[in-house]
Symmetry: C7
Subunit: 94 residues, 7 copies
């Protein structure tokens, strides 16, 4: 992919219902803020903590859960993607 996120930013592809992991995580309709399933496309080099660079805990290819309103929409190479901070990601679906 021809886009390199800065710092602790992550590029995420939103997964449609069909692409979601089978028998896996289903977001209940009644949740206050429904988390969304996505796939990490690219990650930044990491954030700084007390003078040291701390690499991100997610990598390209990870399937993740993130908050519904997280991130900014962009279109890269004709595909709609999201740029968000790693702190907007709740966890990785193994």
């Amino acid at each position: 992919m021809n886009f390199r996120p800065l710092h602790d930013r992550v590029v995420v592809r939103r997964l449609t219902a069909e692409e979601k992991s089978k028998g896996g995580i289903i977001i209940p309709d009644t949740a206050k803020e429904k988390p969304q399933e996505g796939e990490v496309v690219a990650v930044g080099p990491g954030a700084r903590d007390a003078g040291k660079l701390v690499e991100l805990d997610v990598k390209a290819g990870d399937k993740i859960l993130f908050g519904k309103w997280s991130g900014t929409e962009v279109k890269i190479d004709g595909e709609e993607l999201l740029i968000m901070k790693e702190s907007d990601i709740m966890g990785v679906i193994a």
Copy 2:
């Protein structure tokens, strides 16, 4: 479980009345914010403090008390669970 929380996040299963510890903790009806009883299902690797990774104080299997409105609801493997930060947990029921 096929979900790995990031940082200081914890996956919690809400305990129903029957599953609660016998003779144990009962939340009074008059409490301003009623804490809830739950069981830790999975924990993240920990938060960073002054450049060092600090492991969480709870582990999978711990019975915990947490604030009623804490966490985000998700459905993993068909089960309704909560993802919250460790700081939302008040303590562990021994």
Copy 3:
């Protein structure tokens, strides 16, 4: 007691008028926010400051003053108790 508070949290038993220290501390009726007298039942392992664990300054058995609206009410082993942070405690009655 079968409850272990996390971090800098403290479990406190509210003292009734009869249990208060004799000739001791009486909270004036006109105080804006009346502090309350209590007894520490259990303490967490401490808070982190600059990467080091700092043990709490109170211990089980201490009689303390705390702000009237501090803490969350819980019922443990049939007894109504409070869970609060150590910073809500003003001092120890010797």
Copy 4:
């Protein structure tokens, strides 16, 4: 005195007009927030800064100026006193 303040808290006895230092500090009536004169009765062990305990700059017996609305009123051994943080104290009257 049978009360030990925690951290950077200080117990202060409010001085009445007669007890104030002679020829000393008079608070003008027109001041926006009138500082008050008091005497330190007991001090906590100090606050933590960057992992080190920093002892307080005031000690029992010091005559101090503090903001009018600072502190919480308590009655200890039948006497009305104030519990405040050291940062509420402006200085010491020599």
Copy 5:
């Protein structure tokens, strides 16, 4: 260019539609806050973190995405440019 930004500030030339990378990033019309494409013209020496100077992750010539409302408009050598902080930049188009 005869302008040197301070600290973590970056001078950016807004790219018009024709200058944008071919087959590259298209900002969808429906995005809440549409990111814009630009080219870095000059960068400051970096920000300080825990006492150390941390160089910026972008350099002159980089094509970047930034938030639509980021930065302050200035005219340098007759050209309209933007001065923004590096944290307003989402990533670099490779």
Copy 6:
């Protein structure tokens, strides 16, 4: 003077028009927040930064500029003075 300010506090005597430095600093009437001229009477031991005590940059006798609404008025030895933080002082008139 019989008053010792704590931490980074400074005691300041407001200068009247006659006492101001000749040919010196005149505050324009149209300034949004007019700075005032004063003389430092006493200074605290300094503030703490990252665990070290940092002495103040002003000393008794310095003529200073400070914000019009800075500080708290007190009367010490029959004289009206101001207690403010060093950060309220803009600079020293040489």
Copy 7:
């Protein structure tokens, strides 16, 4: 000049249109917050970061851009000047 700014403060002389660098920076009329051109007259010793003094990046004589509403107006030796923090300065015109 007989004025010494404290910490990270800078004394700035606003440049009139005639004094501005030729062929240089022109502030567009439509800018939301128009930056202004000025000349640094005096600088403070620097700010503290993590216990170390960090000298300022500007020096007396530098031509700078700063936000229109930055700083406080003072009159020193009969001249109208501005006192602002270095963080209000966007960059140096070479």
